[in-house]
Amino acid sequence: MKVLDSLNLEVAAGEKLALIGPSGSGKTTILRILMTLETISAGQVVVNGDYLWHEEKDGKLVDASEAHLHKMRNDIGMVFQHFNLFPHLNAVQNIEQPQVLVRKTSKSEARDKAMELLGLVGLSDKANHFPHQLSGGQQQRVAIARSLAMDPKIMLFDEVTSALDPELVDEVLTVLRKLASDSDTTMLTVTHEMNFARDFADRVLFFDKGKIVESGDPKIIFSDPSEPRTRAFLSKYINVS
């Protein structure tokens, strides 16, 4: 089955991109391909000037080895819909362990950075709590801190508020808004929160059936979309425009 079809997308360094559209339209697949969680059957992906799913060997383009993918993943981070914190580690350990294992940061440095990031997401007092002792919104904020700690050049946010109770959505979006305005990290977010997409993004992409139907400045897309399909989709979100 083709989830994405003849997709042509270029993202500038530091750009904040919001991907919107109906469920099953292929938005999440783009993030999963960039995180190397899903493979591609045709085409190419280039990240920071290097092929992601391919590498050059003797002048020929061949499928990427695990070593190549490992190198490429260094610059990319992802936050998931269901948080995926490590349940056997507490909040600060969740943020500390990847730095120590992957970045080879010293334990004390990793801990300092973890505490600093917990402060940034407003959870300094929850450092020693295990994931099951935290609310969904708190877990997601820890997951954001965990990803940030790796200093990725590209961050992927996959429907990060979709699994949350409505009253917990804002605390996560507040953190993301702050991140978007403060950092020059490239960010791609798949979201159903249209108000958030409008504030967060430099550019909005509307997806349907594996294709980009319309893209552009959020102010324009949300107030005066040119495609009827975009208009029909956005009309379901009455509090927008």
């Binding site: 981070g77 998931f80 995926n84 490590f86 990847p98 992957v102």
Partner: protein, 218 residues
């Protein structure tokens, strides 16, 4: 029929020597069942269909035939093929092989119960495969495996009298040899039963305690 304390006192040291063999066979057999079970579990999750299929039918074959027949095969048939095993070695291999097909299911279920999202989180943080196994998957999957693995240990302990059939002088056989020589069955067999209970009841309660301890965490 009356209980003769003199007989009980005479047979008791032999039974204790047998109990030592029983415990050794249980632990060596269990170590084999756990190690082999883990290998089988990993092979059962292989991407290669032929490997999965072979391992599946091999385990079915071992699991669906009686342990007693397997023990006879290891001890009495293999010598015809030029492979001589001591009674104890044949016994623990039989126990280990037979129960590895059960423990492999425990390992497989434990590993498969770790949500896909955990593997993906580890990948997104760029953990190596080895780090993903040792830091993410195993720490989550081992605790729930402990109670069922402990239960199989107790089951194996209770199955060790089968080793008598291939001349291992374990607890039951120690009593049996004495009984057949002196035609005294009451005291030796009662003591065998009592000694089995003495070990298996506390073990069963320990396993239940483990079960509560590790299920409460979720």
């Amino acid at each position: 029929m009356h209980w003769d304390w003199a007989v009980a006192a005479e047979v008791f040291p032999r039974l204790m020597a047998g109990l030592v063999v029983t415990v050794q066979a249980t632990f060596v057999g269990a170590a084999l069942a756990y190690a082999l079970g883990l290998v089988l579990a990993i092979l059962k999750m292989s991407e290669n269909r032929a490997v999965r299929w072979t391992v599946y039918w091999l385990s079915e074959f071992i699991r669906r035939t009686p342990l007693l027949v397997q023990l006879y095969f290891l001890f009495y048939v293999l010598p015809d093929l030029g492979l001589f095993l001591s009674p104890f070695l044949a016994g623990v291999i039989g126990l280990g092989l037979h129960f590895s097909t059960y423990t492999s299911e425990v390992f497989r279920a434990g590993i498969e119960n770790v949500p896909k999202g955990q593997w993906e989180a580890a990948k997104s943080l760029n953990y190596t495969m080895a780090q993903t196994w040792t830091r993410v998957v195993l720490p989550q999957s081992i605790p729930p495996m402990i109670p069922p693995l402990a239960n199989y240990l107790i089951t194996m302990f209770k199955e060790t009298p089968l080793l008598a059939a291939i001349t291992v002088v374990e607890l039951f056989n120690a009593a049996n040899i004495y009984s057949n020589s002196y035609y005294k069955y009451l005291e030796p067999m009662t003591l065998v039963g009592a000694l089995f209970l003495l070990v298996s009841i506390p073990s069963a309660y320990a396993a239940m305690w483990l079960e509560q301890k590790y299920s409460r965490r979720n």
